[in-house]
């Protein structure tokens, strides 16, 4: 039990039709800690993240950010809570019609009312923090490689120095070297900002790099949680099977 959690989730349920995706998730995250949630495809990782972000409404349960309930907020209240967030999407989710700097500065210009000139300066500063040269500022997202797009997404997530960072499969689709670069940048930025971070991934190399703590989700429930260093000696058959990437074990992925 964490004394004053930054994020506190209890008894969270979410269904889509007959399919119960989240079945009573409960987890607390301390301020300044990086939690990585691991789990197979379709276990509810993305749905959990979207519920915390307010992109999906939970059917039941509670999500508290800084002890403020966020389930059931209206759009305006949700926008205020979202000001604490920075999010790196799996595919980058960059706006095609905008230049790189406009993508990075989007919240500054559209939600915070900062002038374009000042926002561009801040955007280029954020780009430098993720090793993106300023010469890329006026390019369009389609002109960049996948790894560079991820870095733009990361710059967009950190430009306002948010209190909470979310990472959705940050290394998916990247080669191992670029993935390592992204992992290092994420770790650096989380540490520098002192932010609370929640990442979801099934890439164990990424999880080990980013995490202070790791939790495993299976069939819509958290089945294990521990320090990142303990993941290899968890004593949990599900975690062991997942970490070892084995087809043999209690997790049946063959549809049986």
């Amino acid at each position: 039990m964490i004394d004053k959690p930054k994020i506190s989730i209890s008894n969270l349920h979410k269904s889509f039709g007959e399919k119960q995706v989240l079945q009573g998730i409960g987890i607390d995250i301390a301020a300044g800690k990086s939690l990585v949630i691991i789990g197979g495809s379709g276990t509810g990782k993305s749905v959990l993240l979207k519920c915390i972000l307010g992109l999906l409404q939970a059917d039941q349960g509670s999500i508290k950010i800084d002890n403020t309930e966020t389930v059931g907020l209206n759009v305006r209240q949700q926008e205020k809570i979202a000001a604490k967030f920075g999010m790196l999407f799996q595919g980058g989710a960059l706006f095609d019609s905008l230049s790189i700097w406009e993508n990075v500065a989007f919240r500054l210009t559209h939600a915070d009312g900062i002038s374009k000139a000042e926002a561009k300066e801040l955007a280029i500063e954020a780009m430098a923090r993720v090793n993106l040269p300023a010469r890329n500022a006026d390019l369009r997202p389609a002109e960049l490689s996948g790894g560079m797009q991820k870095r733009v997404g990361l710059a967009r997530a950190i430009v306002t120095k948010p209190q909470i960072l979310f990472f959705d499969e940050p290394t998916t689709g990247l080669d191992p070297i670029t993935a390592d670069v992204i992992n290092r940048l994420i770790r650096e930025q989380v540490t520098e900002l002192g932010a609370t971070a929640i990442s979801i991934t099934h890439d164990m190399a990424s999880a080990r790099h980013i995490a202070d703590e790791i939790a495993m989700i299976f069939e819509g429930k958290i089945i294990w949680r521990g320090a990142a260093d303990d993941v290899d000696s968890s004593g949990n058959a599900y975690v062991e099977q997942f970490v070892n990437g084995s087809a043999d074990g209690p997790i049946n992925v063959m549809g049986g």
């Binding site: 992109l55 926008e79 000001a83 999407f89 799996q90 989007f106 919240r107 559209h110 967009r156």
Partner: protein
């Protein structure tokens, strides 16, 4: 299989869609009247919907006006009423064909483009990204498109009216031996301000329908390229049907 159950399911499904469209429209209207307004986006869509649609609308009106003049001349000849060509072309274009045909062409061009763009944004999580950046997609994406359509579609229809009447004039004076000055005077004397205004009121309603259907179907598109393709088709088909239905209702009010 119980036929009553099937009918009931289909009815409920239809009513659900109607309810969703009404709720979506309400949210769009709220976003349109409450700040912040994204004027840059509105300007961008005025150019996209208005300026870039001018060739399509202009050509449609030109050929429609020309064909209408020929048909009226042929039909009028049966009653020795060939001289009514300018009058009927004028009223036909301004009250009916200008707004309806221009809007149908815009349904094909604009609704489809909006649905495809928003659908692609949905499946690539760009709409989710907007929300995490404290920006309401109803204010940033949908309201500017609808406002732009409300402004530009009546203007495009006004252009269509002028070009359509010119199409009739061109055919009448070049092929049917009408006197140009007389044709223009007959047209100006016969068309009333209400003929033009009623067409522009229709165009405003059609503009709302065109943008709304593009936004609604794009926003509700399912995952993948197939989902975006289906959303695009549905946007065009539903916009066209609603334009015809609204045209009938408005015409019954205006006559």
């Amino acid at each position: 299989m119980n036929p009553f159950a099937s009918i009931g399911r289909a009815t409920l499904g239809f009513l659900t869609i109607i309810g969703r469209i009404i709720i979506f429209s309400g949210k769009c209207l709220m976003a349109m009247i409450r700040p912040p307004w994204f004027f840059g986006q509105i300007g961008r869509h005025i150019i996209n919907i208005g300026y870039f649609s001018l060739p399509v609308v202009g050509l449609t009106a030109l050929f429609t006006g020309a064909a209408l003049a020929l048909n009226i001349y042929t039909g009028g000849a049966r009653f020795n009423a060939e001289s009514f060509v300018p009058n009927i072309v004028g009223i036909g274009i301004t009250r009916e064909l200008g707004p309806v045909l221009a809007s149908l062409m815009l349904a094909g061009r604009v609704s489809a483009a909006i649905a495809a763009e928003i659908g692609a944004m949905k499946v690539t999580e760009q709409i989710d990204a907007l929300r995490t950046l404290s920006t309401d997609p109803f204010r940033y994406l949908f309201a500017p498109r609808i406002i732009a359509a409300l402004i530009t579609v009546p203007l495009l229809v006004l252009v269509a009216d002028i070009i359509g009447i010119f199409g009739g004039y061109a055919v009448a004076t070049q092929s049917l031996d009408f006197n140009g000055a007389l044709y223009v005077r007959n047209t100006m004397n016969f068309i009333t301000g209400w003929d033009v205004a009623s067409g522009l009121i229709k165009a405003t309603v059609f503009g709302f329908i065109i943008a709304l259907m593009g936004c609604y179907h794009g926003y509700n598109s399912e995952q993948g390229a197939q989902g975006v393709g289906r959303a695009t088709t549905n946007a065009v088909v539903s916009a066209a049907i609603l334009i015809f239905a609204a045209n009938y209702l408005l015409t019954t009010l205006f006559v």
